[in-house]
């Protein structure tokens, strides 16, 4: 059990990051990160290009080991977990990678089916049906037998999302979901994310610098500042826009330069 008090509004912490230091060799990217993601949050990890947003996400899903610190899911320490326990935790997560990350040697149905085959007791017909359903949820009905290279980038993103939610995960991670999408597709993806959160009851963690997305879907956030190597602001993006004392965060959220932001505070 970790000694974090449950906040007054009844929200339960789902992901807790404790003193996380990210480093490549001797180069420290971020130092002593501390933040909590509550159940049902749409949590935004924001920051400028090269601030380590995607790297932070890779730490959260165990693709990179932290130089120091821990990541907790509920009460379980993910970072220090035994391999079996870690697999168990991973099974409850879904990840949409920046490039989609679909397995190129498999059709869309096989991409989703592989997870179902591995982790459920479904028979091949049922697997096929569930895979088709997941694809239908993201608007790709009838594309079961296409290979990832045969569909457009936006469709690959959506297929990636269908695969990420194959096992009805408790946490969904999105790495730059709107990168490479046109404004309408990215808006539709945002709506999809919100709908999934509401219907699956999942916690959503999104890495993005897309302002429109941040304000539409986010209800909690952290801002990574590469200069101080730490989180300089956290909270609801709209509140940060209105009240954040840090000019860099305000400038980011208003799409201004820092000097402009200093001239019109609050």
């Amino acid at each position: 059990m970790i000694g974090e008090a449950i906040p007054a509004n009844g929200a339960k912490p789902h992901i807790t990051v404790r003193d996380l230091t990210m480093a490549f060799g001797s180069f420290v990217l971020m130092r002593d990160l501390n933040f909590t993601v509550n159940h049902g949050d749409v949590f935004i990890i924001m920051g400028g290009s090269g601030s380590g947003k995607s790297t932070l996400l890779r730490h959260l899903i165990g693709l990179i080991e932290p130089a120091r610190g821990d990541v907790f899911y509920g009460d379980e320490n993910f970072t220090k977990a035994e391999p079996a326990q870690r697999q168990e935790l991973l099974r409850r997560m879904g990840v949409l990678f920046q490039t989609g990350g679909l397995w190129s040697s498999m059709t869309l149905a096989e991409n989703i089916g592989m997870l179902l085959e591995e982790y459920t007791q479904l028979n091949p017909t049922e697997i096929r049906e569930v895979a088709a359903l997941k694809l239908a949820l993201v608007g790709l009905k009838g594309f079961e037998d296409y290979y990832p290279s045969q569909i457009s980038g936006g469709m690959q993103k959506r297929a990636g999302l269908a695969r990420a939610m194959a096992l009805d995960p408790e946490v969904l991670f999105f790495d730059e979901p709107s990168a490479g999408l046109d404004p309408i597709s990215s808006r539709l993806l945002d709506e999809l994310i919100l709908e999934l959160r509401d219907s699956l009851g999942a916690t959503v963690v999104v890495v993005t610098h897309e302002l429109a997305s941040i304000f539409t879907i986010g209800n909690n956030s952290v801002f990574l500042d590469p200069e101080t190597k730490t989180v300089t602001a956290s909270g609801h993006p709209k509140e940060l826009l209105a009240h954040c004392p840090d000019p860099k965060v305000r400038a980011f959220l208003r799409r201004e330069t820092v000097s402009e932001s200093l001239q019109n505070p609050g």
Partner: protein, 377 residues
């Protein structure tokens, strides 16, 4: 369009150096030499300011910008104020834009001169790291193999079948060509010498034994290292770039089981078959020379070959080829998984896979030669 462009400078009474820019400045035509001006500024100790006169400037592009920013840099060094009023508005704006963001501290890479000792040290540390990485990979692969034997490894059978096709049947044409030629070459080398003693018939022994014991396995190994090892590295490298490997890891599938294992198994299974085939085609190549040039009959040639070689020779070669298969697959996959995240990195991975594969094969071949000799095989 006039090609007459350039600058001149005059010093006014008040100590202002006015640079007169004339003509049409174009990048295509080059940037006028800066040395004169530098010399002038250096020789005149008491310049109060530097200004520009662009009344006769008829056109400009980035060339003038490059020139003016050099002047600006010179002014900053010598602490002479620069008067930008004379410049066209566009040039002034671009200049401001270029100077708006100050150079980030530490952004510039210093080309440091490193001593020989330091470079040797860095290389040595790098070598240790890559050795550790290789050992870790081998260790994990061993565990994966144990899982395979316990029927616990997870991979797609359809992947394995496809790989078997790719590195088995599809490699036959090239193996045929090379093996036949190797047989021919061996026969030629032997024939020239043996003919002197009237012992042409022993060409069959020579080609047969050489193909079975060494050349069949070796040539198949080298062909497969170039063909399949490189392909493995490129496939896995690309999968890393497109985050497919990450997706496997987070989905709880071990990339080693899922990607590396079927590749190793496919080569272990196919290399012995390819090697046997190569042995046979090599003997055919030798026979072609024997029959065509040394006036031996097909029957005599094959009878002599059959007498010369033993089952031990054949199995020795086949066993070696299996080992080469493991080495090729492992080096291809290791380099692929170590690949960086760019297209050129994938290319490097493929190159390095071939080099590693061939080096490993040759080293293994030498080791086998010694071991077989000691064991008396």
């Amino acid at each position: 369009m006039s090609n007459d462009y350039g600058f001149s400078f005059v010093q006014t009474q008040e100590g202002t150096l006015v640079i007169r820019l004339v003509g049409s400045w174009r990048l295509r035509a080059g940037i006028p030499s800066f040395a004169d001006l530098q010399g002038k500024v250096a020789s005149t100790g008491m310049l109060k300011r530097i200004g520009f006169d662009t009344r006769d400037l008829t056109g400009w592009d980035s060339s003038i910008l490059a020139f003016v920013s050099k002047v600006s840099e010179l002014c900053r060094q010598r602490k002479i104020p620069m008067d930008r009023e004379g410049l066209p508005v566009g040039v002034r704006k671009l200049l401001e834009l270029a100077e708006a963001v100050p150079e980030r501290k530490g952004a510039r890479r210093e080309v440091e001169k490193t001593s020989l000792l330091e470079r040797i040290g860095t290389k040595a540390i790098g070598a240790t790291d890559s050795l550790t990485e290789m050992l870790a990979f081998l260790g994990e692969m061993t565990i994966t193999f144990v899982r395979l034997l316990g029927m616990k490894a997870r991979y797609r059978t359809s992947d394995l079948v496809l790989l078997i096709q790719q590195c088995g049947a599809q490699a036959l044409p090239i193996v045929t060509l090379i093996s036949f030629l190797v047989g021919v070459i061996l026969a030629f080398v032997g024939a020239v010498q043996l003919k002197q003693f009237g012992a042409q018939i022993y060409v069959a022994d020579l080609v047969g034994i050489a193909m079975m014991r060494e050349m069949g396995a070796m040539m198949t190994g080298i062909i497969m290292a170039g063909r399949t090892g490189a392909a493995f590295a490129a496939q896995l490298g690309t999968m890393k770039v497109t985050q497919e490997v990450d997706a496997l890891t987070t989905a709880g599938f071990s990339p080693l089981e899922f990607l590396v294992l079927p590749r190793v198994v496919a080569l272990i299974l196919m290399m012995p078959l390819l090697c046997l085939y190569s042995d046979f085609v090599g003997v055919l190549g030798g026979a072609a020379i024997g029959v065509g040039m040394l006036d031996l009959s097909w029957t005599t040639y094959f009878h002599e070959t059959a007498n010369a070689i033993t089952l031990t020779d054949i199995f020795g070669g086949v066993f070696k080829s299996s080992v080469y298969g493991v080495l090729i697959a492992l080096s291809g996959c290791l380099r692929g998984l170590q690949s960086g995240n760019s297209s050129s990195a994938v290319g490097d991975a493929a190159t390095s896979a071939v080099v590693t594969g061939i080096v490993a094969i040759v080293v293994a071949c030498g080791t086998f030669a010694v071991v077989f000799y000691v064991l008396g095989i």
